[in-house]
């Protein structure tokens, strides 16, 4: 690389970082305005502008070499997303949001799997050094854990609200034990991965178990609690995005993900209070509601 090329690269990197900084500020301002009825619209526009800047900033990255697939994906996403936003009736709002979560979380999960594949399984595995790999694996672990359980959880929430699946809470004997075992298994795989990051079996087992946990978490929750669940899943999707940021070293992902994670969490607490529902019931699913379910 010549001196001129590296200077150009540096300038590009600085522009990209400034764009990210602006995007992060816009997300915060947007979120703040969204809590005030008369400014909410402007807040949404600020957040949308932030998203646009984040996309532009990412496109400027030096690692990005081909744009074909990115542009294809962006076009497909726009074509699918536009009617989903424009023509869904207002009464179907919570399930629409759940459906949308499924897409966002699926993206985070796929990125996690792609990163893992690149690290150890691809044609040219990058095989990072042990300490780097541990840190990255911890981040990737959180990413696919939250991502996968949000995908299946959102799918269940969508199904219950759309009434593919009965809106009544589904409980059965031994549910708590099963959920506890699944949870322990996921944590076990996660721990295993941090100790031995190149363990392919543990990684995919963890993805599978997280999917199962997502189903199990929403199964015992009734339709009336569903908006709170959707908001909680929003929080998980944010945490997954944030973990992606840790894994690939990207601050705008960490910031937007953390904003989303925290605000989704607090919003679900506020919502369950406003609706007079028990938040711990929703958070712990079967653990809280198995006895009191009607």
């Amino acid at each position: 690389m010549t001196a001129a090329e590296s200077t150009a690269g540096n300038v590009q990197e600085i522009i990209s970082q400034v764009t990210y900084l602006a995007a992060s500020v816009l997300f915060m301002l947007g979120l703040r305005s969204l809590t005030k009825p008369d400014e909410a619209r402007r807040g949404m526009q600020l957040a949308a502008l932030g998203m646009l800047l984040a996309i532009i900033g990412t496109m400027l990255h030096r690692e990005i070499l081909t744009y074909t697939w990115i542009v294809t994906g962006l076009i497909v996403g726009t074509v699918v997303g536009y009617p989903l936003g424009k023509f869904v009736p207002m009464t179907a709002m919570p399930q629409r949001i759940a459906f949308s979560h499924m897409f966002g979380a699926l993206a985070a999960t796929l990125v996690g799997i792609g990163e893992f594949y690149h690290m150890y399984q691809g044609e040219q595995p990058s095989n990072p050094s042990a300490s780097d790999a541990r840190f990255k694996m911890a981040a990737l672990g959180f990413e696919v854990l939250f991502g996968a359980l949000t995908v299946s959880g959102s799918f269940m929430a969508f199904g219950k609200l759309q009434e593919f699946i009965t809106g009544k809470p589904i409980t059965f004997k031994g549910q708590n034990v099963l959920n506890g075992l699944l949870f322990l298994a996921a944590v076990g795989c996660f721990g295993w991965l941090v100790v031995e990051p190149n363990n392919v079996l543990a990684f995919y087992a963890m993805v599978g178990i997280s999917f199962a946990i997502g189903f199990m978490l929403v199964l015992p929750i009734g339709g009336a609690d569903m908006p709170v669940v959707v908001s909680l899943l929003n929080s998980y999707a944010g945490l997954a995005a944030s973990a992606t940021g840790f894994a690939i070293g990207n601050n705008v992902l960490i910031i937007a993900g953390a904003l989303d994670g925290a605000s989704g969490f607090i919003l679900s607490i506020v919502m369950s209070k406003a609706m007079n529902r028990s938040f711990s019931n929703v958070l712990f699913g079967a653990f809280g509601s198995a006895g009191s379910a009607v």
Partner: protein, 103 residues
């Protein structure tokens, strides 16, 4: 060390999120949920990196699918928030209606 730096960023941003949302009026619960849903589409950034970097065939395909999924989330999320908030404007003259689509 970068890991610790990232943790600081995470905690501070999370704290901002907590503070900003804690006093949201009931009326705005659903629009806020839709807007944060759109923001959670930020995983688009990670997807773009995966789809555009030369990581090999499978990661590129996974990345392209992820870009499409995340973009669906972003576009759909913002459009729906906009629709919801426009609806509020019209209902402003009838303050008696709670206008909460979720509950």
């Amino acid at each position: 060390m970068t890991g610790f730096f990232q943790l600081y960023v995470f905690i501070l941003a999370g704290f901002v999120g907590f503070l900003v949302i804690s006093r949201v009026p009931h009326l705005l619960h659903t629009p806020l949920m839709a807007a944060t849903n759109a923001i959670s589409g930020i995983s688009l950034v990670g997807s773009i990196v995966l789809a555009g970097g030369q990581y090999g065939k499978l990661p590129t395909i996974l990345g392209a699918i992820a870009v499409a999924c995340a973009m669906t989330n972003v576009v759909g999320g913002f459009i729906i928030t906009d629709r919801m908030l426009t609806m509020f404007k019209r209902r402003d003259d009838k303050p008696s209606s709670p206008a909460d689509g979720a509950s």
